[in-house]
């Protein structure tokens, strides 16, 4: 390829190097070398991959579980859990910035010269030697031709200069000199962006931590108890912090997550959340998150009231406040605890609690710690009844909680406030699971005709009341044995006892326990016949216990309804042992309080970065789409007219320049009067 460019070639290796004397020069050369630049670009790319493959900034215990102790340590010391602020990563970036700077320093002077210099020193010989050149004769005088050519070239957007030479007049012209500026812009932009980014990084914090001036707090403390060494005063430092503010409350600090702990950043203003709102699409997906915010600052005449939402932050004094997330802000819940277990008393009792509140509960001789986890004002789920997953239904409010026993074991529950219909009847629904990994299993408590749990509670009370159970068992025994002729006391006693213990077994473990009893105690030969007999006796007992609670015989329709209720109640009681809680909490009322999750950021380097971005974009387009093109013409006097030698070159897109050169030549020949 011909040297298209008057500059020494940009590639360092293709031109003979002057002997280098000092170490400084050698280092300068190395830093500005293209090989280093390309190596660094690729190294940075590869290093960045690591941070995307390995999830960054997770809790350290997660990594420990994932990699085991050995690799955990290896990866930790390589800084892989926070690659982008690891020393080696920053070192690559720094080297890239140094290398680019060296490059810019080295090339800028000649680039600037090249931008303006029209090169008036070329010889006719060298014009003829260029790969793009033409020669022709015209009848007009030298001055006339020069004028015409110069005018046409300037009309084509070229800057033109004439120089008188021995052999004639040299016209030098250039278009697209700004291409060179493109180089400078692009590369300066990289430096500017990296410096701006440095201003906004958490490097100063890391440095302060390394010096021992600040210390990351890992304990869960109330804000006012956090020691000064973990607090950052209002200042010019960059940060990205978050705060959760419940509706009606305010905050003056933000929390910066650092590795396995946090720091507290004080803010120069106070933020109060008036209201937080979520709007939903018809399908239940969230449509918008909004917070009505009030900002208090002594410098303001009156507090600033604004509504922020996702994509619409508030900018104030160089701080930006974003809608980042939301959570429960301690919703007040009115609960009624309905005993399910004999030990838990036999009357429901009401109490008030809040989301995120923990309290020790006592029911008779039983106790457990109630940890309220969550509240949702509505649940839009597929309606299982329809069998069509697109058919959505609002299941109403729900709240989640854990019950933790003295031994520390906990089960998680999810209770719905409103009754849920199933097979045409209404039930209270409560989900239970023993670990996050499991699906919820559900308890369905049947509602009585009043829509409450009273009937169920009454029935349960009878089942736990030993006196009633004994008298019903006695009655049933008498009726069963009425037709038997030879009654003896033993038979009577053993039947009565069996009935009582069947009920007791059922109450403690449902039908499953009765089945186990049958399997383990009855001889195999009798199991076939006696097993079903036991089960039907149990059912009969349960029915008698239930119906003996009513004074008057009811109509047939009512009896029908009572039978289904009995069935539902028996099913529910049968699953108590799996439900595992001595009480059922029914949500009677709530006072919804949400908390808005805000992110507060201070990025003093932002405008620097944006400036760099603008430079980068302008630079790249100048580089690619504004080729620098030069034309020269030497006009010499000839017998009758003049002789013109034209030559041109471009610093990029040689293929397009072929065409361009021909077009320009044609134009110039036309105006100069080709003969």
């Amino acid at each position: 390829m011909p040297i298209l460019n008057g500059l020494p070639s940009m590639s360092d290796d293709s031109r003979p190097q002057l002997p280098r004397h000092t170490l400084g020069q050698r280092i300068f050369h190395f830093l500005g070398s293209m090989d280093l630049a390309i190596t660094l670009l690729l190294a940075l790319a590869i290093a960045s991959v690591i941070g995307t493959v390995l999830q960054q900034n997770q809790p350290y215990t997660d990594y420990l579980i994932k990699f085991g102790p050995f690799w955990f340590d290896v990866f930790e010391s390589a800084g892989l859990y926070d690659v982008y602020s690891a020393l080696w990563f920053l070192a690559i970036l720094t080297l890239l910035v140094i290398s680019t700077s060296t490059c810019v320093i080295r090339h800028t002077p000649s680039m600037i010269k090249d931008m303006w210099n029209l090169r008036t020193h070329v010889q006719e010989k060298s014009l003829r030697a260029m790969s793009h050149s033409h020669e022709w004769d015209v009848s007009s005088s030298v001055d006339d031709s020069v004028n015409k050519l110069a005018t046409e070239l300037s009309q084509q957007g070229f800057r033109v200069k004439q120089t008188a030479k021995e052999e004639g007049i040299l016209i030098s012209s250039m278009r697209g000199g700004m291409n060179r500026l493109g180089y400078i812009f692009t590369h300066v932009a990289i430096i500017v962006i990296c410096l701006g980014g440095l201003l906004d990084s958490n490097l100063p914090l890391k440095f302060a931590e390394w010096q021992g001036r600040i210390k990351i707090e890992t304990r869960d403390l109330a804000t006012k108890d956090i020691p000064a060494i973990s607090r950052l005063p209002v200042g010019s430092n960059a940060f990205r912090g978050s705060i959760h503010i419940p509706e009606g409350r305010s905050a003056e600090v933000a929390f910066l997550a650092m590795r396995d702990g946090y720091l507290v950043q004080e803010l120069p203003f106070k933020l109060e959340v008036r209201d937080f709102r979520i709007e939903h699409y018809a399908t239940g997906q969230p449509k918008s998150f909004e917070t009505d915010l009030v900002l208090f600052d002594d410098e303001l005449e009156q507090p600033l009231e604004v509504t922020i939402s996702v994509n619409h932050p508030l900018f104030y004094k160089g701080y930006a406040i974003y809608q980042a997330s939301f959570s429960d802000g301690g919703t007040g819940l009115s609960l009624e605890a309905w005993p399910l277990d004999s030990g838990a008393g036999n009357k429901p009792f009401s109490f008030e609690t809040k989301v995120f509140e923990n309290r020790q509960m006592h029911w008779g001789e039983e106790s457990a710690r109630l940890e309220v986890l969550s509240f949702r004002p509505f649940n839009i789920n597929p309606d299982p009844k329809e069998g069509d997953p697109d058919n959505l239904r609002n299941f109403g409010p729900s709240f989640g909680f854990k019950l933790r026993s003295k031994t520390g074991e906990a089960r998680e529950y999810l209770n719905y406030m409103l009754p849920v219909p199933r097979n045409g009847r209404d039930f209270y629904l409560s989900g239970v699971r023993s670990s996050q990994a499991e699906e919820f299993g559900y308890l369905y408590l049947p509602l009585d005709s009043e829509g409450g749990l009273t009937a169920f509670n009454q029935f349960l009370k009878r089942l736990y009341d030993l006196e009633i159970v004994e008298s019903v068992a006695h009655q049933m025994m008498l009726e069963t044995l009425a037709s038997v002729e030879h009654k003896d006391d033993d038979l009577e006693q053993s039947l009565e006892n069996s009935l009582i213990s069947l009920v007791a077994m059922f109450m403690s473990g449902g039908f499953a326990e009765v089945a186990t009893f049958i399997d383990t105690t009855l001889p195999e030969a009798e199991r076939e016949t006696l097993g079903p007999a036991y089960l039907s006796m149990l059912r009969e007992m349960l029915a008698r216990l239930y119906f003996s609670g009513f004074e008057q015989p009811e109509s047939d329709a009512d009896t029908e309804q009572q039978l289904t209720f009995l069935q539902d109640a028996v099913d529910a009681i049968g699953s108590f042992s799996r439900y595992g809680s001595p009480v059922y909490f029914s949500l009677t009322d709530f006072d919804h309080v949400e908390a808005s999750g805000l992110q507060v950021t201070h990025a003093p380097g932002k405008s620097t970065v944006y400036l760099g971005c603008a430079l980068l974009i302008i630079g790249v387009f100048l580089l690619f789409y504004l080729p620098q093109r030069r034309f020269w013409a030497i006009v010499k006097k000839k017998a009758n007219g003049s002789n013109i030698v034209l030559a041109g070159m471009s610093n990029r897109n040689p293929r397009e320049f072929d065409l361009f050169f021909e077009q320009i030549s044609k134009q110039l020949k036309q105006v100069s009067g080709n003969s």
């Binding site: 940075l44 960045s48 941070g51 960054q56 699409y281 969230p286 994509n311 930006a320 065409l659 361009f660």
Partner: protein, 385 residues
């Protein structure tokens, strides 16, 4: 006096054609702004103006593009008119359900792209320039149907409900179509500039692959359903960030396919200099040049897209750069091509190694575009599979 010769030396159309086109775009923009002056905010006005200017620039010397824009506009309006206010007509009206409803238009697009690929290759192998012309026509039609599909889908989203309505560049399904259309248009642009149709089959191969994936995605995951936008995506930045990104992806994909053609030809030249492929494919130096052009274009637009992404992130997530996997992969792609460009511009590398590198670049790009959504999680998890 003489016309000024363009820096890009695109051959100029007649002044009349140029001015009527620019006038048309100006009028269209003014009418649109008048019509919606009450609902547009300043950013939307900016976007309309920007679109009109770029259409005017693209079309002033490119008659094929002018026809494309007019066809898309006219047919989209017909579709809107047929729809009226009733979305269900999309399934009952004959023209909508067979041609113009977005799903049907996309099916047409897919079929036409596949046909165009076949036609390009047959034209190449049979050395039939007529067949190649047909292939160009098919590609234009495919791009047109795809564009109509997007326009109509835009309207359909508003017909579902006003608050669901949004520009169709918000999920993987929609951007795949955008990718196919943009890549095709880029190719058609260079096809005219370089006066060769022999690379069409290669470029259309990526488009066909995209279309195949798209079809699988439609049938397997019901991905074509129009979903409302999550709050993070409700931003005017999306309207420019995503298309700019896809000009980048499309250009990189094209460069890679030209790289493939380059490698094929250079092998054939050494192995079987008289072979068919060695003779029908364009000169090596031309492909090399085209590859460079394409990567330069992709790099420029990718730079713009990444900067726009940073501006958006600063508004939605609270920081212009978060090292989120999608962001980071954009950076990786960008660095990779920056290295490619330096290698070529300043070290003067040419030929096979650069072609290989362009092909590898496609895989890096593909990972940034698809792989991140499939395998990595982060803030950008809108387009998950």
């Amino acid at each position: 006096m003489s016309n000024r010769i363009n820096a890009l030396n695109i051959e100029s159309d007649t002044a009349l054609a140029q001015w009527s086109w620019r006038g048309l775009m100006a009028i269209a923009a003014v009418v649109l702004l008048q019509l919606y002056s009450s609902v547009f905010d300043s950013y939307e006005i900016g976007i309309v103006v920007l679109t009109a200017v770029s259409l005017a620039l693209l079309g002033q010397n490119w008659s094929g593009f002018r026809r494309h824009v007019i066809a898309v506009t006219v047919l989209s309006f017909i579709a809107l008119w047929l729809y009226g206010q009733d979305l269900s007509l999309g399934e009952t009206d004959f023209f909508l359900s067979y041609i113009l409803a977005s799903q049907s238009a996309f099916m047409w697009m897919s079929a036409l792209f596949v046909m165009a690929t076949v036609a390009y290759f047959s034209g190449l192998l049979m050395r039939s320039s007529f067949t190649e012309k047909v292939a160009s026509g098919l590609t234009w039609s495919a791009a047109t149907m795809g564009m109509i599909g997007l326009m109509v889908r835009w309207r359909e989203s508003y017909l579902i409900s006003h608050d669901v309505g949004h520009i169709p560049v918000s999920n993987l399904y929609e951007v795949f179509i955008l990718f196919a259309i943009i890549t095709a248009l880029l190719y058609l642009f260079y096809e005219r500039r370089y006066q060769t149709r022999s690379l069409g089959g290669f470029v259309l191969l990526v488009i066909t692959a995209a279309v195949a994936f798209q079809l699988w995605y439609t049938f397997e995951k019901q991905a074509h359903e129009i979903q409302p936008l999550v709050p993070a995506l409700q931003s005017y930045w999306m309207k420019i960030h995503v298309p700019a990104n896809f000009v980048g992806y499309g250009a990189f994909a094209m460069a890679a396919m030209i790289g493939v053609a380059y490698l094929l030809k250079s092998w054939c030249q050494t192995a079987r200099p008289q072979g068919l492929l060695a003779n029908v494919l364009p000169e090596l130096s031309m492909m090399d040049d085209l590859m460079y052009k394409s990567i330069a274009l992709g790099f420029a637009f990718f730079t713009v897209a990444t900067v726009l992404g940073a501006l958006w992130a600063a508004e939605a997530w609270g920081g212009y750069w978060s090292w989120d996997p999608k962001e980071t992969w954009a950076l990786i792609v960008w660095l990779n091509y920056a290295a490619w460009l330096h290698m070529r511009m300043t070290k003067g590398w040419h030929g096979r190694p650069m072609a290989w590198w362009a092909v590898i670049g496609l895989f890096v790009t593909l990972f940034a575009f698809l792989g991140v959504n499939m395998f990595l999680s982060g803030l950008h998890s809108y387009g998950t599979l």
